[in-house]
């Protein structure tokens, strides 16, 4: 991977990997700049140009921008058929819903907080029902509907229906699969079996060398940190787990076809983490090397307050022990 020298220097200074997609992917960076300038036309242009995964990123980043809802409402008012504006506004409502609720368990949420949470989610959902009716092929809206379905507790079969509707226009959609996996976990009312079946279906359905098999890693990371299992070591010693991780790596990061695929950072980052946990240092080193300065936060955040620090520590160990 060709790496800009100045980025390497920056990384050295902060001693951390670059998680920010706006730095990793130029078009996402341009969309961010357009948002900060309230420049809707440029945002639309960046969105149109972006890959599907980057489109999801653009929507999510737009939704997380505090106070941006008035801007989106204004755009929508002048053009009620602007599906991108409707979708980012809905995503903004989803974010506002979670801000009102807080991220703690249900018992930590005040009744008023919960009512506000549900209210924002319903608003978002009703906007998205309209968007998906107008343009059933608009995958970014279906992706936000995966979030609303979970918050509104609409059930695993409804989440799978939404995923299927999305995948009919955007097959092997890594972002959608990642959210669906989260939705199918026991913490959101699903089951381990359901989630396990889902990740392997995604892994097997994707063309060889695709990054989708990394979802198997994500699944096991979820198992590792869940309360249902007694310890990280126990899971990692399980020959079945090791076998599945190896098989998933063969389908993705260790497959010759992998280098030609998009969205490599996601897969390499997750495999770098799981190989480090498995103390398979040569494989971990290989992943870290291919990652260069980039990584995704997913997974690393489960093993420490500061995911950058966790990443750096693992990287250092891999480099020295391999």
């Amino acid at each position: 991977m060709a790496v800009n020298v100045s980025i390497l220097a920056a990384m050295d200074r902060y001693r951390g990997p670059i998680f920010d997609e706006a730095v990793q992917i130029p078009v996402v960076g341009r969309a961010d700049a357009a948002l900060r300038a309230n420049d809707w036309a440029s945002l639309q242009a960046a969105f149109t140009e972006a890959t599907m995964q980057s489109r999801h990123s653009i929507v999510r980043r737009a939704g997380s921008m505090k106070g941006s809802e008035d801007f989106y409402r204004g755009i929508l008012q002048s053009n009620p058929r602007d599906l991108l504006a409707a979708t980012v506004l809905a995503d903004r409502y989803v974010r506002m819903a979670w801000e009102a609720r807080g991220t703690g368990s249900y018992s930590t949420v005040s009744p008023q907080g919960y009512a506000t949470f549900q209210g924002y989610l319903r608003t978002a959902e009703q906007i998205l029902i309209g968007v998906c009716a107008q343009q059933p092929q608009f995958a970014p809206a279906w992706a936000v509907r995966l979030f609303t379905a979970t918050g509104l507790d609409l059930g695993a079969v409804e989440i799978l229906r939404r995923y299927q509707r999305l995948s009919s226009s955007s097959p092997h959609d890594l972002h959608a699969q990642f959210i669906t996996l989260q939705d199918l976990l026991p913490k959101w009312g699903g089951t381990w079996e359901m989630a396990h079946d889902f990740v392997w279906e995604c892994a097997n359905a994707a063309p060889t060398g695709s990054p989708n098999a990394a979802l198997v890693v994500m699944y096991y990371l979820e198992r590792l940190i869940s309360d249902d299992v007694s310890g990280v070591e126990e899971v990692l010693r399980d020959p079945q787990v090791r076998h599945e991780i190896a098989a998933a790596a063969q389908r993705s990061v260790k497959n010759p076809a992998f280098d030609a695929k998009a969205d490599k950072v996601f897969a390499l980052s997750l495999f770098a983490l799981i190989f480090s946990l498995l103390e398979d240092w040569p494989s971990a080193k290989d992943c870290f090397t291919r990652l260069g300065p980039y990584a995704v936060e997913a997974g690393w955040e489960y093993f420490g307050e500061d995911p950058s620090a966790v990443f750096n520590e693992a990287r250092q160990e891999a480099m020295s022990k391999a």
Partner: protein, 587 residues
């Protein structure tokens, strides 16, 4: 073409083409009845046909919510004989048949199942008009010959009748000596829903939606398009349901109801609801596949062009005459059909969505999609004297001067006397009041210590024409208070249930569970659990006994501990069996 004529000042529509059929239609039906009169029109229809029972004619009668029809097939002479006999019977009902026909109707009634269409109408219209027509024929028990004569002189009149003939001109010499009266318009439908779109969870394996739209060809086309879309998306592509149906039916001169119903796979019900809501949204906002509209038009077009097309329109045309609607030439209908555009369908979909009453699968909500929950309870309880049932603190009965309330932890259920549509009474003193909104308050005097004259207060306030006297129940059907304060006997705490008065099956009321016992699935589960526990108990007993055989190198204290442990487990399992058997017996 459809021709117009008159017979004895009764308007006639006819076509010379088509099979030899004739019909006499009256603008009266079950939706015109008070709940306390339910069944009177149907009873008259049966009695009017009785004397024809032994003839060779092909004939029949139907009582629908807004129309009562008599029809026959035969040559003009047979038609004349039939119609004159019906009218002569209406003028002189075979009253000696009253009790027998009541029995026939009750048997017919028993065959009616609780259906989605009935529940939709019940939730929307309560116990009034179209809503009342969903109830059992409560009025049969107390109906008097005098009531029948009065009903006939109001509704079965010349001004409220229309005739149709196909395959013939109005037969010469036909004389129909109907009484004179006035045209009875359909009373405007009342909605009991505080707001729409609204939802209520109902049946576990069905979902249904009721929408109110303007009568139009576009609305009829919309219903057919919706059905096709539901079939494709819910059945063919996803297997969420088996047979979705969408029905368009005329409500009055200007309005129609569109009702969509889907039987769903219970394990996929959340997805079925999601796809159902998305399908309606697609019809409202999405791009319509032009081939779907074309297919529907082709089917409808052939119905308007095939041989006999005019003749098959006659019954509907006769009804339109009674509603004061013009009879459209078939060419105009064809032109209307061809003119329907996707934009028209969007507009109908918007009407359906805005007026929707959605019955979601049991346990599922639709507030997330913008539907408001229909309240399960009344707004408030009446002021009056409260009574707590003997040995059962779960609910309170309040008897006031304005009405009656039953209050439990879910809230109050109130029937105001002035809104009471029917009060069912039993010789044992039981009173069941049904309000205009369908709320039921049941009073079983055996469960309370009511002061002398308390029931009279109620009887004095309920209008006499709302009282339905039912026959005596057998002693075991009369509920008794539980023996001790923690007992479970007596009515359930759901005040809209426990109202079934013996010889008639009340339709499932809003909020009332269809069955109060264990369902078949739960029952099977309980039986299975008993069998498993039984096997477990036997194994534990055997293990305990086996441990009595001394092993040479065993720790005696350890063995005793294990024996005690197994025994305790065995006793616990046996206890479980007893508990579960009790659950089965409660049914």
């Amino acid at each position: 073409m459809i021709n117009l004529a008159q017979v004895d000042s009764i308007p006639v529509v006819y076509t010379e083409e088509g099979p030899p059929l004739a019909g006499l239609v009256f603008r009266v039906g079950s939706a015109d009845e008070l709940l306390s009169q339910r069944g009177i029109t149907h009873l008259i229809e049966h009695l009017a046909l009785h004397r024809l029972g032994t003839t060779d004619y092909h004939f029949n009668g139907t009582t629908a919510p807004y129309f009562t029809s008599f029809f026959t097939r035969g040559d003009p002479a047979a038609v004349v004989a039939f119609l004159e006999q019906v009218v002569s019977s209406l003028n002189d009902l075979p009253i000696n048949r009253l009790d027998i026909e009541k029995g026939v109707l009750r048997t017919e009634e028993d065959g009616r199942s609780i259906s989605m269409v009935r529940q939709l109408n019940l939730w929307r219209h309560g116990a009034v008009g179209r809503g009342a027509s969903t109830y059992a024929e409560l009025g049969l028990s107390g109906v008097h010959p005098y009531d029948l004569t009065r009903w006939i002189s109001r509704y079965f009149t010349r001004q409220n009748a229309a005739l149709w003939f196909s395959g013939m001109e109005p037969p010469a010499g036909l004389r129909l000596n109907l009484p004179s009266g006035a045209r009875e318009p359909i009373r405007e439908a009342v909605s009991m829903l505080p707001t729409t779109p609204a939802f209520h969870p109902e049946f576990p394996q069905h979902l249904g939606l009721h929408g109110v739209v303007k009568r139009s060809t576009a609305a009829m086309v919309f219903a057919a398009v919706w059905q096709r879309e539901l079939f494709r998306r819910m059945r063919q592509e996803n297997g969420y349901c088996y047979t979705p149906t969408v029905d368009y039916s005329v409500s009055d001169a200007t309005q129609a109801a569109i009702v969509a119903i889907a039987d769903i796979a219970p394990e996929l019900r959340e997805a079925a609801l999601g796809e159902f809501i998305d399908t309606l949204a697609s019809l409202q906002w999405g791009e319509l596949n032009p081939s779907v509209l074309e297919e529907v038009k082709t089917t409808s077009r052939s119905a308007l062009t095939e041989a006999g097309a005019e003749a098959s329109r006659l019954p509907g045309a006769a009804m339109d005459l009674l509603l004061g609607r013009p009879i459209m030439p078939i060419e105009a209908l064809r032109a209307e059909l061809e003119a329907v555009t996707p934009a028209d369908l969007h507009a109908v979909a918007a009407e359906v969505a805005a007026s929707a009453l959605l019955l979601t699968p049991a346990g599922l909500t639709a507030d997330w999609a913008g539907f408001a929950r229909v309240p399960d309870t009344s707004e408030k309880a009446v002021t009056g004297r409260p009574f707590v049932p003997i040995n059962n603190p779960d609910y309170t009965l309040v008897i006031g001067v304005d009405g009656v309330s039953v209050v439990n932890k879910a809230g109050p259920m109130t029937v105001l006397y002035q809104d009471c549509q029917a009060m069912l009474t039993r010789p044992d003193g039981a009173r069941t009041l049904i309000g205009a909104d369908g709320v039921i308050c049941s009073i079983e005097p055996t469960l309370f210590t009511l002061p002398e004259g308390m029931l009279d207060t109620i009887d004095q306030h309920v209008p006499p024409d709302r009282v339905v006297r039912l026959s005596a129940r057998s002693p075991e059907q009369i509920p008794m208070p539980p023996q001790d304060p923690t007992g479970q006997a007596g009515p359930s705490d759901d005040s809209r249930s426990g109202t079934e008065p013996g010889d008639y099956e009340a339709p499932s009321q809003p909020g009332a569970p269809v069955s109060r016992g264990l369902g078949p699935v739960a029952r099977t589960g309980v039986i299975l659990a008993i069998v498993v526990l039984g096997i477990l108990t036997a194994m534990l007993v055997l293990l305990t006994l086996a441990l009595l055989i001394p092993a040479p190198d065993a720790d005696p204290e350890g063995i005793v501990f294990v024996q005690v442990f197994f025994s305790v487990l065995a006793v616990a399992c046996a206890g479980g069996i007893v508990g579960l058997s009790f659950l089965l017996r409660r049914r």
